[in-house]
């Protein structure tokens, strides 16, 4: 879908529409529940999390349903954001400038559009891991329904599910760190939808210019 970003009357820029924010938080909420209950089943040292969340039996019952919610949100995001997440020429340059980005030398990072290559990777990582988690998760939901002759499906599922989950944990940790600690304004943009001009100019210059141009031409 097309980017619906625009300049707001108060001089700030709308980065995420209400629908985009809604699906983000739907996926975030379900992911956090999946993460916590998943970690409880991952290690005996973390089993207490399931106890805190109402008991491991409840956690096992609800984990697959939360998974369906997460996958639904992920597919919704795919419909909404996939076009904006396609790889562009500047992405390769951005990856080369990654050390500068990490060291917060943002003036040495190429100008980028609405999303940098890292954010795009996060999106595609979650999308593909989401599919792997869905397919393996359905098998783990009903292991008793898998006939003995097809038991290799169960054997695959028990390894695919944690591997894909670990990959999303890596993405999630970076995403949370960037959004909460590193880029001031990012959290606000996902809660209320808007960013300041300075923020847009500093981190997404091409997108900032595009939004300004469109807003002036519209007037």
């Amino acid at each position: 879908m097309k980017d619906e970003a625009r300049l707001l009357p108060n001089g700030r820029i709308l980065r995420y529409t209400f629908v985009e924010r809604l699906m983000h938080w739907l996926s975030a909420l379900s992911y956090v529940y999946l993460l916590l209950t998943g970690l409880a089943f991952w290690s005996p040292w973390l089993f207490w999390i399931a106890v805190v969340l109402g008991g491991a039996t409840i956690s096992r019952e609800l984990h697959p349903w939360a998974g369906l919610l997460f996958v639904a949100a992920t597919f919704w995001m795919y419909r909404t954001w996939a076009d904006q997440m396609r790889e562009t020429e500047v992405d390769k340059e951005w990856w080369r400038a990654l050390p500068h980005y990490i060291r917060n030398e943002d003036e040495l990072v190429p100008k980028i559009g609405k999303y940098n290559a890292g954010q795009k990777s996060l999106f595609w990582g979650f999308f593909w891991c989401g599919i792997a988690l869905l397919v393996s998760g359905v098998i783990l939901w009903f292991p008793q329904q898998v006939p003995w002759s097809l038991r290799f499906l169960r054997y695959l599922a028990v390894i695919v599910h944690p591997v894909a989950a670990l990959l999303t944990i890596a993405l999630f940790m970076i995403h949370l760190y960037m959004g909460l600690a590193i880029e001031g304004g990012a959290l606000h943009s996902m809660v209320r939808g808007d960013v300041s001009k300075a923020w847009a100019r500093a981190f997404h210059r091409l997108w900032y210019e595009k939004v300004l141009n469109e807003s002036t031409s519209r007037k």
Partner: protein
């Protein structure tokens, strides 16, 4: 075991040998199933249901004597009937009592994430504690013998307990008690292994079963249920008894290397992010250079 204290050493006013004296009561218990003397009467199936309090379930007719295709959550003991064609074209009816094998290294226990839901006792019995079971079914995947079964009503998993409740009271399992031919034996692993090896040797030397042997698979560390087979080189013929059962490779990968790799990566990642924050801190919107300088900066 509790009954170890009630083992008889001496009894008063008794002529002759003392019952039970000299009988080994090692902690390792073992059930021996001699498939060569099984007549397929299914008394063990009935005894299992009766002792464990399950009613008879519907049977499935598949043109054989077999009660149903595989064990169920409330049917833990099933004789598998197999019409095996010998090399000379004649038919041999193989009958094997199928139930939990009580592995020394149980795949169900390795795969289970619930605290205390699967217990292996010092005597070798592997028992499910349904009050701790969360119904995830990982044990179903961990088992190389297709034994744990999910109950849709209880939403928990059940299997043969080797009559743990009887064994702790010094009784043999219900199936053993019911067997009319004496093809089922119960005792210490050492005794049962010896009995089984002797029987296998007898079959080889006197009954023309050149490949007769004992099934006590090393891949799961040995089992506390062992078989005497007419042909130990072909256990698959006995209703799919696996030749070399092991805990599935992916279960082992998941529970050992992946778990430690994952834990290490998560903790390492958290430390890495903390270090990054201390070293570089937050990004700022303000300090950006004017465009010309930024371009020069990029060239430098």
């Amino acid at each position: 075991m509790s009954q170890a204290t009630t083992e008889i050493r001496r009894i008063s006013g008794h002529a002759g040998s003392v019952p039970g004296e000299g009988f080994s009561r090692d902690y390792d218990v073992c059930k021996l199933i001699d498939t060569t003397t099984c007549i397929g009467c299914k008394a063990c199936e009935v005894a299992c249901l009766e002792w464990n309090g399950y009613s008879f379930t519907e049977t499935t007719f598949d043109n054989s004597y077999q009660t149903m295709p595989e064990t169920q959550w409330n049917y833990w003991n099933l004789i598998k009937f197999n019409e095996h064609e010998r090399e000379d074209g004649s038919m041999q009816l193989l009958m094997r009592k199928d139930q939990c094998m009580h592995c020394e290294e149980p795949g169900c226990l390795a795969a289970c994430p619930a605290d205390g839901a699967i217990v292996q006792y010092a005597n070798g019995i592997v028992d499910f504690q349904q009050d701790q079971c969360i119904g995830c079914g990982y044990c179903i995947t961990g088992c190389p013998f297709n034994i744990p079964k999910f109950s849709p009503t209880a939403r928990k998993v059940f299997k043969c307990t080797l009559c743990n409740d009887r064994v702790t009271q010094g009784l043999e399992p219900a199936c053993i008690k019911s067997c009319p031919t004496g093809c089922l034996h119960f005792g210490s692993k050492t005794d049962m292994k010896e009995l089984a090896e002797n029987r296998a040797a007898q079959l080889r030397e006197h009954s023309g079963f050149a490949n007769a042997g004992v099934y006590d698979p090393a891949g799961v560390g040995g089992t506390h249920v062992i078989y005497v087979l007419h042909d130990a080189t072909n256990p698959e013929a006995y209703g799919g008894l696996p030749k070399n059962p092991t805990i599935p490779l992916t279960v082992r990968l998941w529970k050992m290397p992946l778990k430690w790799l994952g834990n290490f990566a998560i903790v390492g990642g958290l430390v890495g992010l903390a270090v990054h924050y201390l070293r570089y801190g937050t990004k700022t919107e303000e300090v950006e250079e004017p465009p010309e300088q930024a371009e020069q900066g990029a060239k430098r």
